[in-house]
Amino acid sequence: MTAHPVTAHPVTAHPVTAQPVTAQPVDEGAETVRDAVDPGHTPVDRVLAALDAVGFPELQELPGWSEASPEMVADLLEGFAAFVAEEIVPLNAPGDREGSRLDPTSGRVHSPAGFAAAYQRYVAAGWPTVPFDEVHGGGGMPWSVGVAMQDILASANMALSLCPMLTQGAVELLARWGTPEQQARLLPKLVSGEWTGTMNLTEPDAGSDVGAVRTMARPAPGGAWRVSGTKIFITWGDHDLTDDTLHLVLARTPDAPPGTRGLSLFAVPARLHGAGGAGAGDAGGAGAAVGRNGVRCVSIEHKLGIHASPTCVMEFDSAEGELVGELHGGMRAMFTMMNAARLSVGVEGIALAERGYQAALAYACQRVQGRLPGDPSGRAVAIVEHPDVRRMLATMRASVDAARLVVYSTAHAMDVARRHPDARRRAEAAELVGFLVPLAKAWSTDLATDVTSLALQVHGGAGYIEETGVAQHYRDARITAIYEGTNGVQAIDLVQRKLGLGEGSAAATILQQVRERADQIRRDGHRDEAEALMRAAATWRHAADLLIDRRAHSPLDALAGATPFLTMTANLVGGWLLAGRLVASGTGAAAGGFGASGGSPRGASDRDRKVARFFLTQLLPRTDGLVHAVRGHVDDLVI
């Protein structure tokens, strides 16, 4: 037996895993929360409650999802959150400070310290695969589970989360439009996360107007294509997280018709693969990489937020690519992933809003400042006890909760639209998705800006200083209202395309369900809340009728009212979903027309019910005032 001196053999202590993951410091129903802790990401219990409220358990009955029991999903999300808390959360602030950097000589982008290792662990644990079909190597879980994971990941580190988010878009496109051969060759590595994917649409003169794209793809021998042009705003266009990246590029072909009808979609790998390395048929194949393709990052943007996510200008110089989908079918292909992509941005909105709320709540519990009027002890109190601070926190929480239900309802409807055995239910759900997507995208991301701003406000002067971290959430959140279709574009989409009040339309059905829910909660003793809901519904109906009429006769006036109308609509839907918490348990609240009824099968806590009451009686009525803006005319908008 030999004794060794301790200095020669230092023992390395490894951090203990999974400690603060589901920290639930809050005393349910207590008047004042006193010891909240910021978990650094969306808490799992909040995610599970939202899944439950939008009817997640019924997905288990749909073909292929028998594994997706609520218990299994709870285990899964807890496991994922433990990983995120340990590996991803700590990289958020340092990643923001360091940012991704371009080495101009090599044209390679270096991500902040720790990002590559964390991403590789994320891949090794199989997390990217979860919501994809098993046939492509996926985990076979519903999209709702993927959305819940995004909620947790984006709240922990929005910049890093964008990389797998875009890869998901690439997977979706190839799964829908790729040939069986392309799918077999390209999908497994994208699904596993060993490769990442990018979306190359925007050009300097082709932003919201995608039809102006000038990047050219020319046919090359052997069925291949050579892509040349410049794309901007390419998220994670180059990086060191993985060996390879598959760029999906929208380009024009020679003799193509002008506008969006002349665009085709091409898959362009960052590296050339296969024995010959030249044939586009080998592009992205599993063969050994033999060199870099003719695509490189020429600069990265200096942005307000998401510093760790490189936003690249990509130059394609006769890069080898292969056609995905039909020639001139590029826009159609892009549209198939648009709903999921817009929903993903909505998830980012609620994730960042949640993060702001958690940080502000924890700070307010800990920061002692000022005294309460009429308190004879004269003791200084934590600012959470000040009514005005409580109003801010209550507004944040109710907003996040309502927006999360809108987002999760959308995901749920996507799952129903995909797998329900009844064609009528699939069609109804698909229409609901169309109606909800602009709300899920625009409202959540508008709220993200509002709520992270309130988080900063709760922190007072400290919030304006970077060290407290809330300034980062505010900066990171701002992009979500812009990309993936600006919120103005979402409002136009809602008014021009999604709004219809005819028999069986999503809006009419929702209106019907709002009335039913109001009746229900009135019967359950919530008279004020029921009235607030009915009043909002009546005002909304008035605004909707007006816009439908104007759409035909004075379209510019209709568009002038689009944004306030979207806000009204989202508040009504959010209020309706939150009102599910007020339905007395055991009265069969769940299982509404779309399965997105917002019931409370497991029973909402007393605190959850108070949040719903606050939203319905104090926040929802604010939107009544928006009807005046909807009624206004484009000529009133003096600039």
Partner: protein
């Protein structure tokens, strides 16, 4: 993640039969949630969801590494109710199966009763090696593992920071205040593992999915052939007679530097026997 070989003897060679490792684990109330003591018994309230004690994750990781090449890990645990959430975590990490002694009669068990129950359950698994944490995070008695060893008639080695197995014996680097001792011990034996000495793997997506279908053998006290009067409140040889709140921290002493602050700080530290 932690693919490095465990000991200087390297990974298991083919010199012994498949390695059957039992890891004793405890499911405890989530330390992140506020804990409560039962007013009458002064014991921790263990209702609702229980999680795998963090200090057990190191033992599970070590067991998995030792059994990686040829063998398997069996978790053994006991609880007054049928809660298995914490065991699922261990199964998701890679353990093959679990034995849970779950019986209302176990309520109030002291360390020795716990050891009696676990020893009986461990016997069923016929292990080559039994691993336990040095102590649990909620109870901190730190006596159960050695009691198990005594009851099983096995040798025990405590405070391991490294374990390797070859030729029917185990070699352990045993942490001491001065550094570590190298200890060799014949199998089967009981080894306790110090927290923090390995990096426990995260349950992977596939691991979590697979955990659902792994067997958890739920046994009662009677199944183990034990008399209910020998465990729980009835069998407890110790009793918690009272619980008092920890003294509130007093106000700190403010040292104003008038040129002698360093001396006063040194004196203060000496008084605390810290220097």
């Amino acid at each position: 993640m932690s693919g490095a070989p465990i000991g200087r003897w390297g990974p298991l060679s083919g010199t012994i039969a498949p390695m059957n490792v039992v890891v004793c684990v405890k499911q405890i109330p989530d330390p992140a949630a506020p804990a409560a003591l039962d007013a009458q018994s002064h014991t921790l309230v263990r209702e609702g969801k229980l999680i795998l004690d963090d200090s057990d994750a190191y033992g599970v990781e070590m067991g998995l590494q030792l059994a990686a090449e040829d063998g398997e890990v069996t978790l053994v645990s006991m609880a007054p109710n049928g809660e298995v959430s914490g065991l699922r975590t261990g199964l998701a990490m890679g353990a093959a199966k679990a034995i849970l002694v779950s019986d209302g009669a176990l309520k109030g068990s002291d360390a020795l009763s716990t050891a009696k129950v676990l020893a009986k359950a461990i016997e069923r698994a016929q292990p080559d090696l039994v691993i336990a944490a040095t102590e649990s995070t909620d109870g901190y008695t730190g006596t159960t593992p050695v009691q198990i060893a005594e009851l099983l008639g096995m040798p025990s080695v405590t405070f391991a920071k490294k374990i390797s197995v070859a030729n029917g014996s185990v070699r352990v680097e045993r942490q001491t205040e001065a550094g570590y001792d190298e200890v060799e011990c014949p199998l089967p034996c009981v080894v306790t593992v110090t927290a923090g000495v390995v990096e426990p793997r995260y349950p992977s997506f596939k691991g979590i999915m697979a955990a659902k279908s792994k067997p958890v053998d739920q046994l009662t006290v009677a199944d183990l052939g034990l008399d209910a009067s020998s465990v729980g409140w009835a069998g407890a040889g110790q009793e918690i007679t009272g619980v008092a709140a920890a003294e509130e921290r007093g106000a700190g002493e403010l040292v104003v530097d008038e040129g002698d602050a360093h001396e006063r700080i040194v004196a203060f530290l000496e008084q605390l026997k810290l220097v």
